[in-house]
Symmetry: C2
Subunit: 504 residues, 2 copies
């Protein structure tokens, strides 16, 4: 049905009929969002979504129009109040950044320009190339390397491992596929490696059995001797060691593998050296932390995120590759309709689609460019140092309290610990800490996440948060102790009641 | 070095020191961008980047801070004036959408909330689930299917083909890898299939030799008899036909394969049926076009974009999968640190990271939700019908002018033609049209792209543009004829000069 307001034969558009009104609405949205960020500290970290809201997202596909003001009101009522929580000063769950006001503005500008970063002669390509040069400088990667911005760490690892497979398997994998390999291909990483590496190995058709998980030593870093032994055994079995993945900051504890030694080993063995530096790579910015990731710059491919420890809004990660020809050779594919020209819109040497999986690509480079320009990289270095210092501070707070138990070393920005109080036994301790975590989330006071450390349930605090202050950590520790003590009492009462019931 | 304005011991943040000033700057950006979009018709479609601008993007990594106002001025001078051009009413190159004002606002809101759509108990998951339900309704896909929003068509095809491989290869590909296949796996698609399908087949380790490109019939749709024969031959050779990829709108001409017949064939043969409907899938919205993609709803997996023919800003595409268990089974992977809980932030059934490659994911669902709400799907249906009608109109304009030659049928929204004037011979015609395209771009009047049709260089007009009017196409045709005639004269003069030179 034709829009009744439309004159016969007149063509329609999705542009506003009343630009001024829509502009005013936009200003209201911007005001609201800036205020939302300015006041984030005053709200709970997170709150559960009420059932009537959760169940309301089952609407029929809307056929007719709704006034944008009403759509925005709906957003403000049903969506805005229930975020993940990672914008909050006391969110330390998983590995998430906060985003920034400038990042938010940049996303608006990028969406307005809506240019296609697949390639071509447009300014976005220049911005992305500039940002990649900066990324190389940030992590001390060779300036002759190539790179691409991707959606995040999972994709960054996939891109790096694709280059490893296609450039280093010793035959034409792109044409013949993995099955043509004269020897089974093997990838090596510590048992603490991120799950996205397994996902990538599976996607690439190598199969997760090809991923050899090497035990870790006390500091949760890869056991080099075990790695050497496994490689030796695999060679004897007729396998071809393709790639070693080093961790610059594991997700569980922030451990950094001995990257220099891994680089030496890979060089000696002729193995591709990939580093997953999702957040840890950026430790290279801070002089005091740089030593932890030394050797990372020797990687053949390096994956890291900018929406984690660079605090930018989702999505943006980066893959750097030492050998640009290997990088391009792993992906480039130019059909007739994409033939690159020397002039006009297709007239550019910058075709990012030749260096990754996406053809059409958004302008995620803009928020990186604007943020680095505005803050300067020294500021980011200070923020990263500040977060690492806060983790050390939390470590001290935990060590100082007998009710708490540190479960892993704190090399970087992650603290794993638990409430132990007077509770004895693994299972009750695990149960108590599990419940403690959920009550922390539900209280809205703080949001750590969880993991298993040597099979013990751990509260896990990962500080990639530019809003966190030391006082937030003090408040958090006090709350953990308060909740822990209460849970201990509840457990004791329940135990007594059960015992009494048993006697009855 | 510590920020000098920072008191000793005080902690820093990336939040603004002066919120009011930054808010004012944001309002200025928003005003400028809305004005930029309102006046887009008054500017050239595209213009080349001046050398002094292009060469300026080689700055050292900035160490110190720059006032955000200055950064924005720099953006306005060096970046904003040089977009790809696809926001313009007369941009018809490749397959690109325009973006919308609402899409731009939504991206700002999404970046402000900065939630992580990997999963968990937050409103974004509900929004994405709602949007996927709407996507299923839009393309008449079974409501029991699963889906995920991805960065675009390349990723959407990769996700669909990953499910095909992992669910349908007949062995545990995730564990054992492609090399464990008892029989070589084969994927089938027409020779007109998009390059992203080859990219996906390569990424998945099948090798491009596993992709059997089937010849097309006169309308550039897959030759069903040739497909049947190839499958038969492959089976005789001991190969396992894994997947047929049907095209709902080829990139060259907009041709739609006979999807119902392909569905029948796949059912009979026990082959996975994937449909690449990057833009064409949305033809299902318009009653008059729906017949072209009939059978698409029978696909096992379906890939399409929302940043093309839904006109939304980059990036957003979608994969739908008929069997949710197969979909989840192809990707799900839950390490300790991602253990899903029943309460707290991890307490949700909606873990999109189990249905795709990304773990951390941005809130691209919001722009889809807001846009469908605001415009209503009937409006999108009318816009798509309008674009298809405009393509038919251009076809008529081309057919009416003896200087122009239509090179392919116009089933949907793509018109391939060339200027022929009085020029004779393949090579001169190709050269003339190549130059004509570049001059069109350089003039800023209109931006078609190019392809080869039966080995002839074609100007290719793909209308996925909500700002295009018929008058734009009239202007374009007039300009093609004017430029073509001029080039013909130049060619003749150059030929005469060369001949004279030859005689001298």
């Amino acid at each position: 049905m034709k829009d009744p307001a439309q004159a016969e034969g007149e063509e329609e558009t999705l542009d506003p009929r009343d630009w001024d009104r829509v502009r005013e609405l936009g200003h209201r949205m911007l005001d609201d969002m800036v205020e939302y960020l300015r006041t984030v500290r005053d709200r709970p970290v997170w709150k559960p979504i009420p059932e009537e809201i959760a169940s309301s997202f089952h609407e029929e596909l809307p056929r007719g129009a709704t006034d944008l003001g009403d759509v925005y009101r709906d957003f403000s009522r049903r969506i805005l109040p229930y975020p993940t929580g990672n914008i909050h000063p006391r969110f330390w769950g998983w590995v998430m950044g906060n985003g920034t006001v400038t990042g938010m503005f940049a996303e608006m500008l990028a969406a307005g320009m809506n240019l296609n970063q697949g390639g071509g002669a447009q300014s976005g390509g220049l911005v992305e190339a500039q940002v990649i040069d900066w990324c190389k400088a940030m992590v001390a990667f060779p300036s002759g390397g190539s790179g691409i911005l991707v959606s995040g760490g999972s994709m960054a690892n996939l891109v790096g491992l694709t280059v490893a497979r296609n450039a280093h398997a010793g035959f034409d994998v792109r044409a013949e596929g993995v099955a043509a390999s004269p020897a089974p291909l093997r990838v090596y990483a510590s048992a603490e490696v991120h799950s996205s590496v397994q996902k990538a190995v599976e996607l690439l058709g190598l199969g997760k059995n090809a991923l050899r998980l090497i035990p870790v030593s006390a500091g949760f870093t890869i056991d080099l001797e075990a790695l050497r032994r496994t490689i030796r055994e695999d060679r004897l079995k007729g396998c071809r060691p393709l790639c070693v993945v080093g961790c610059a900051g594991t997700v569980n504890t922030g451990a950094c593998d001995p990257l220099d030694e891994l680089a030496d080993l890979c060089k000696a063995e002729g193995i591709w050296f990939h580093v997953d530096g999702a957040f840890g790579a950026l430790a290279a910015l801070a002089p005091g932390l740089r030593g932890l990731v030394k050797g990372m710059e020797r990687a053949d491919s390096l994956a890291f995120d900018l929406h984690k420890w660079m605090y930018l809004p989702y999505e943006v990660g980066c893959t750097l590759v030492r050998d640009p020809a290997a990088h391009r050779g792993a992906f480039a594919l130019t059909p007739d309709y994409l033939e690159h020209t020397t002039r006009g819109i297709g007239g550019s040497d910058l075709w990012f689609s030749d260096y990754g999986i996406q053809l059409s690509r958004g302008f995620r480079a803009l928020k990186v460019w604007m943020s680095i320009k505005e803050q300067g990289i020294d500021k980011f270095a200070r923020m990263i140092r500040q977060n690492a210092g806060q983790a050390k501070y939390l470590e001290q707070l935990v060590r100082a309290r007998p009710e708490l138990e540190l479960l892993a070393p704190v090399p970087l920005n992650i603290v794993c610990f638990r409430y132990r109080g007077g509770v004895l036994g693994k299972k009750p301790l695990d149960e108590l800490n599990k419940e403690l975590l959920l009550r922390l989330h539900e209280s809205g006071v703080a949001a750590p996440s969880y993991t298993l450390i040597a099979d013990s349930y751990a509260l896990r605090v990962c500080i990639t948060n530019h809003r966190t202050r030391r006082e937030d950590l003090e408040l958090f520790v006090a709350e953990v102790i308060r909740l822990g003590a209460r849970l201990e009492k509840e457990t004791a009462r329940a135990g007594a009641a059960a015992a009494a019931g048993g006697r009855a």
